[in-house]
Symmetry: C2
Subunit: 248 residues, 2 copies
DNA sequence: TTTGAAAGTGTAATAATGACACTCAGATAA
DNA sequence: TTATCTGAGTGTCATTATTACACTTTCAAA
């Protein structure tokens, strides 16, 4: 008894996305508040995700979820891995929520987790722009999430750390124009440790992916900083040869 | 209409394993020959894998497949990621094979791929020990595999390369007693490039995970090599601090 | 006893890393 | 107008890591 396949949700396979954003101070992730009340509770927060359709591939499914959520396209997206403990729905509130949104809430689900990097400026959170409320929460403040989403977040953080050490993906989190201090703080946030200012600057200058704009910050109560942008051409050039030199 | 969950195969989720072995000369992987004939054809080779049961987690499923195949337990196993293009069953021979072994051969399947490292000496291939014939094939000779398994193999090779650069997992592929030249050749096979002999030796000596046995090779037609074994205790010690120093 | 084949060994030049402290430029407030 | 505050920006030196490179040794087999 083969089922019709196309345009059907697959009850057993979902994607979940860890969307990182950087507010120039700290790392945040985008979470869905499932709660009824207007107050955010740790218990009601979940990663954005959805069951996949049988006719879309996994990346497409993740893109779809992100686009529905943020309206953004061409987002940096990378698979973290598959999570699918049979007992991942162990909390009562998770069970109830699933019953409210799924046809087959009891089904065994394996979820494919992705992480994604967005420029927070491109995604200003509009008040009630979605039925499901999406909110930015600082990564450091998250202690608990729905299902196995906390575990997925830990894996996402590790993956991001590993990746940023060998590949200059940090620019996806910064505005077009940024200062070296902002880049510095970004790396410190992701790697979760202090980096010496001068050594950091030497290193990023050497990797040769920055284009100095000869513009300065304005209206800051201190010496204004030079602005830079990411040099896309140099990136493409280096990309072929594998970026050997990013050991932070 | 919730289905009974326990002890049922899930028609939508499978695991596939890339089992690496090292014959002291080159890297091999363990493949299943689906062909009827006694001659191995590239077309008939597939990664070992199976649908998962709804009551087992993904790691358990991979272990189960490996144990059924090799009889080995406590195998090094690591997830590569999820693969699930809706068109992964594009070849006619794959479709036919699925029809012969699956209840629901049309189902959309997402597979979770694992790679695994075994000591080939622990797994001497017995003639016809399995209905499905399992055979070792040198990685370099593989040009084509069933479904999307060739793509999975590429991902496995990349993952293994990345991992071995930062973590001393190579020992899982070597016999208890081994020579530095064998270790050297192993790293060259995995990284697919030549490594300077003296620099390599300096580096592995510095990482301090080798225990010299003060035994020598015998009956080799050249100067016999010192034998070493892997120092498990030192490994445990270093494991906590994160192995910073393996940049090959 | 000679030969073949891989084992084993050290050094020097260059590059990368880590530690460290002061001056500069602009905004704001007195 | 001057003083103060804040973060921007900069260089050097010691240590460590990396790369490149060639000859001698030991055993087995002929």
């Amino acid at each position: 008894m083969p089922k019709k396949k196309v345009f059907e949700l697959n009850p057993n396979i979902s994607v979940d996305c860890v969307v990182f954003g950087f507010d120039l101070e700290k790392l945040n992730i985008l979470l869905i508040d499932r709660g009824e009340s207007q107050f955010v509770s740790n218990n009601s927060l979940a990663l954005p995700g959805d069951l996949i359709y049988n006719n879309e591939n996994l990346h497409q499914a993740a893109y779809r979820v992100l686009e529905e959520l943020t309206g953004l396209k061409n987002i940096y997206l990378e698979q973290i891995g598959a999570f699918g403990d049979p007992n991942r729905i162990s909390k009562e509130e998770d069970r109830l929520w699933l019953e409210s949104i799924r046809d087959n809430p009891e089904a065994r689900v394996v979820t494919i987790a992705y992480f994604s990097l967005v420029k927070m400026e491109d995604y200003p959170l509009k008040a009630s722009s979605f039925a499901k409320k999406a909110i930015w929460i600082p990564v450091k403040e998250i202690e608990k999430l729905a299902f196995d989403h906390f575990e997925i977040l830990q894996a996402a953080k590790i993956k991001l750390k590993e990746k940023i050490k060998i590949h200059p993906i940090g620019f996806n989190l910064l505005p077009e124009k940024f200062t070296l201090s902002q880049l510095h703080k970004l790396y410190e946030s992701i790697l979760d440790k202090e980096l010496d200012k001068r050594n950091f600057r030497r290193k990023v200058q050497k990797m040769n992916l920055l284009k100095r704009l000869f513009e300065k910050q304005e209206y800051v109560p201190h010496k204004p900083s030079e602005l830079y942008k990411f040099n896309e051409e140099k990136y493409q050039e280096l990309a072929k040869n594998g970026f050997n030199n990013f050991g932070f």
